[in-house]
């Protein structure tokens, strides 16, 4: 547990010192979300009907972008090897790193999303569900993106491949998340999809770090 907190604190400190890297995925999220109305149409009915979809796609892409470099800096300066050699389980370290990354990239997204949703004319009553669904979905997305980053550590310039590996796996998150938001917009009960999102998050958080750690160990050899 000490190791977990230590890594968490270290990664948060590094992230805040490189605020440019920190801000990029968030700005990306806002830009992508604001390009959708330009590409489709600014009509209120259209935006209200597809606004939730825009937000989910933008969140998906920005979380992928954010985690591309999750292990890269540590690999380049050799600290990843040291972490892998430490007696603490590598999966725990990976979990701490993923959590740190989620705190600096996922949580601001939760704060930004309601404002974008309001600009798409989504009803105010749907906002708590939107934030709740994003809060349940972004950890799963972070774990999947971390897995993509771990699988491609031995690929030179692996950034582009990560999307190809991870995006098909994110389909369930997208389906349940968009469904929950959609139900909330129409004023119906959203518990079903939210429970399923929570189940996916539990599955991803329990098994994902193990797979990440295995992939990192192979990549480090």
């Amino acid at each position: 547990m000490d190791v977990f907190l230590l890594i968490l604190r270290r990664d948060l400190k590094i992230a805040f010192r490189r605020w440019g890297e920190l801000a990029t995925p968030l700005i990306f999220f806002v830009i992508v979300a604001s390009l959708f109305p330009l590409a489709l149409s600014p009509e209120e009915a259209q935006l209200r009907a597809s606004g939730t979809g825009f937000l989910w796609i933008a969140a998906l892409l920005s979380s992928l972008l954010a985690l591309d470099g999750l292990f890269r800096n540590d690999l380049q300066d050799g600290s990843m090897e040291q972490l892998a050699l430490s007696p603490a389980p590598l999966a725990l370290i990976v979990l701490a790193k993923t959590l740190a990354h989620w705190l600096v990239s996922g949580v601001p997204l939760l704060v930004l999303a309601p404002f974008l949703a309001l600009s798409f004319y989504l009803p105010v009553e749907a906002l708590p569900t939107l934030v709740g669904a994003l809060a349940l979905a972004t950890p799963t997305l972070s774990v999947l993106a971390a897995l993509g980053a771990a699988l491609t550590v031995s690929v030179r310039g692996g950034g582009a491949i990560i999307g190809l590996l991870v995006l098909p796996l994110t389909a369930p998150v997208l389906i349940f998340g968009a469904r929950a938001t959609d139900l909330a917009v129409h004023g119906e009960s959203t518990l079903g999809p939210l429970y399923l999102l929570a189940a996916l998050a539990v599955l991803a958080l329990s098994l994902g770090p193990l797979a990440c750690a295995a992939a990192l160990r192979v990549g480090l050899e």
Partner: protein
């Protein structure tokens, strides 16, 4: 005991190579016989469907290829996991050989599904159809596996990293399947996998089952053929391959 020992000996590449060479003509002949018999039964003997007319007959290509595509992913993930856990090189070779074959069958299922969709739904592609979307995502999983392998130069590393991806994928396949199914319910319900009484007459069902078995054997044959090449390439510096080459040269 004898069977177990025989099975273990298969993990040794030279044994396996000889076994595969003996097996592949049998697979080839039986797959051709089964597919020809099933297609004849399906296209000639089976009555036309009272709703879809003769249009339903594409089922004899569509359903077997969709089934083999899914089977291929399970075989791929199973072989890759065996290779990862017990470090059996042959198992990794199986996974490598299965991937393009499985992707091709999945692609075939998508194309035949689209061709079928045009007369039945009036459109080639129907986003609301869960199984088409699932097949598409399955194709992406195959492609992701192949791209990841191609991107890693070291073969041993590529074997093990892609095995992790395949294992994660196979855990996700049922989740993707059910989420997509839940997301849309437009597609016609399952016709074969109902235990009580199939919603399809025996004249139509029996040829379909024969074609499914035929496609499975055909899949096994394709994999065995690719596998022989893969094993030879991996073992190209081994003495048994050199001996084989010398024998061929004579």
């Amino acid at each position: 005991m004898g069977l177990v020992r025989w099975f273990h000996s298969l993990a040794s590449p030279p044994h396996f190579y000889r076994f595969a060479r003996r097996l592949s003509p049998w697979l080839a002949v039986s797959s051709v016989v089964l597919i020809v018999a099933g297609v004849f039964g399906g296209l000639v003997l089976a009555p036309p469907d009272y709703l879809q007319g003769d249009g339903f007959r594409i089922i004899y290509v569509h359903v077997p290829s969709a089934y083999v595509g899914m089977l291929a992913y399970v075989v791929l993930a199973g072989a890759a996991a065996i290779g990862f856990v017990w470090r059996i090189k042959l198992a990794h070779a199986v996974a490598v050989s299965v991937a393009p074959v499985g992707a091709s069958f999945t692609f075939l299922a998508l194309v035949t599904g689209a061709i079928w969709g045009k007369p039945m739904w009036g459109t080639y592609w129907e986003w609301a159809d869960a199984r088409l979307v699932f097949e598409l995502l399955l194709l992406f999983l195959f492609l992701g596996y192949m791209v990841l392998r191609a991107a890693i130069e070291d073969r041993d590393k590529a074997d093990r990293v892609s095995a992790i991806l395949a294992a994660v994928g196979v855990i996700n396949v049922p989740i993707i399947h059910y989420s997509v199914e839940w997301w849309s319910t437009l597609h016609q319900g399952p016709t074969i996998a109902r235990l009580d009484s199939p919603a399809i007459t025996l004249d139509m069902l029996v040829p379909l089952l024969i074609v499914i078995v035929g496609f499975t054997v055909y899949f096994a044959w394709l994999v065995i053929c690719r596998l022989q090449g893969e094993v030879l390439e991996r073992e190209r510096t081994a003495r048994w391959v050199q001996q084989l080459l010398a024998e061929r040269a004579e």
